[in-house]
């Protein structure tokens, strides 16, 4: 006879309890970028909205930035690090194949009771993490989940590539997700299209580099127009589906927080969603650049800190990027 297996039950709802971020100190202006590439402050602002971004120091690692953001999020949640049951780190720039960044972060912050793993979903990684954490809390596999989006993209770009050098930057954002009395994280609409894997990818693998050398170390390359076309065409639709799934009208939103890919993509999504003018839209990219998995929590933190959006407000999140992959959900702000 097959033995009866007991299963676990969680709680009915989960919520984002708190947020913490790490913004590297060094501010890099468009003028400084233009010392590496043939460009101009005007072109960069027109095409992306970026005026400056932050670059991590040489000795400031993915794990350092993630731990700093995590520490603040845990403190703001009013729980102990030992209460955390899972640490999820969304990143594509941790420079070791193994072990994962998340195990190191867990040890650093004293989350000794937590399991930990990394999520590789590029600029959608944070929203993937929110979805996983929500499911973990609701199914009872963890009571408190720490979700961190962190990137040190400057280690993996060619500072002389006109298509990426002005765009990408560094940073980290973390949230604690735990039990809630009321619904506070809507269904996630997500997907992947590996048929477009060449839209954003690495110039070569590390193995190819070891065996054949090459003009430069492996870096992120991007077909900008292809990504733009996909993002503008498909991402507003995905965001609309997330609104529909949550039963929320665009007009009822207190914030729209898309991945800070490029202000022009954000503008096009706002138009396609017919977002009413009274809904504040995250524009953290202006001073932070595109920080991939870190961009949604960094943008969320800025809106809360500046009062553009309020704790308890309803926000639409969407992440999208290399894969191509995307994930979108409606959440209550911490």
């Amino acid at each position: 006879m097959t033995a009866a297996i007991r299963t676990q039950h969680g709680v009915e709802f989960a919520r984002i309890m708190s947020i913490g971020v790490h913004r590297p100190e060094r501010v890099v202006t468009n003028a400084e970028i233009c010392t590496f590439i043939d460009s101009s402050d005007e072109w960069i602002q027109e095409r992306s909205g970026i005026t400056e971004r932050r670059f991590a120091a040489k000795d400031e690692s993915v794990v350092d930035m993630a731990s700093s953001a995590a520490h603040k999020a845990i403190e703001a949640a009013g729980i102990a690090a030992t209460d955390i049951g899972m640490v999820l780190v969304a990143t594509v720039t941790h420079p070791y194949q193994t072990p994962s960044a998340s195990t190191e972060v867990a040890a650093r912050i004293g989350a000794v009771n937590a399991a930990a793993f990394d999520i590789s979903a590029a600029c959608a990684g944070f929203c993937f993490g929110v979805s996983l954490a929500n499911d973990m809390v609701r199914s009872g596999s963890s009571t408190y989940v720490l979700v961190i989006g962190v990137e040190k993209l400057t280690d993996w770009i060619d500072p002389r590539d006109r298509g990426t050098a002005f765009l990408f930057a560094d940073g980290a954002g973390a949230v604690v997700i735990g039990p809630s009395e009321v619904p506070a994280i809507g269904p996630t609409i997500w997907g992947a299209d590996g048929g477009q894997k060449d839209a954003i990818n690495m110039s070569q693998s590390l193995i190819e580099y070891r065996d054949n050398g090459g003009p430069i170390f492996p870096v992120i390359t991007m077909q900008g127009q292809q990504v733009f076309r996909w993002a503008v065409g498909e991402m507003a639709k995905a965001a609309q589906r997330a609104l529909d799934a949550a039963g929320v009208d665009a007009g009822d939103l207190d914030a729209f927080i898309p991945h800070q890919a490029n202000n022009r993509i954000t503008d096009a999504m706002v138009r396609a969603l017919k977002l009413p003018a009274h809904v504040p839209v995250a524009r953290d990219i202006v001073t932070s650049g595109n920080t991939s998995a870190a961009s949604v929590p960094l943008a969320m933190e800025r809106m809360l800190r500046t009062g553009e959006a309020k704790s308890g407000g309803t926000a639409l999140l969407i992440g999208f990027g290399a894969g191509l992959v995307f994930a979108s959900q409606v959440v209550t702000l911490p």
């Binding site: 027109e46 095409r47 127009q225 292809q226 733009f228 076309r229 503008v232 065409g233 022009r264 096009a268 138009r271």
Partner: protein
């Protein structure tokens, strides 16, 4: 037919880039006269594809210098 496409394109260009509808005439260059940059052009092309059910490949977009070029391409391929 061409007149309808022209007025439809004018609406699209207005929505994407805020150019007044009456400024969008056949002889105007997207880049030089209407200030449509490469990213706005991608949006115009996508909206036109949706509206008229045409496929405008990236390789073709570079040839659509004027509004008239776009009208002619859409008329011939839709």
């Amino acid at each position: 037919m061409s007149q309808d496409i022209l007025s439809g394109l004018a609406v699209i260009v207005n929505e994407v880039a805020g150019v007044p509808v009456e400024d969008v005439t056949s002889e105007k260059s997207f880049v030089d006269d209407l200030d449509i940059d490469s990213l706005s052009m991608v949006e115009v092309v996508m909206a036109a594809e949706d509206k008229w059910g045409v496929k405008i490949p990236d390789s073709e977009v570079k040839n659509l210098k004027t509004v008239g070029d776009a009208v002619t391409f859409i008329a011939a391929n839709s």
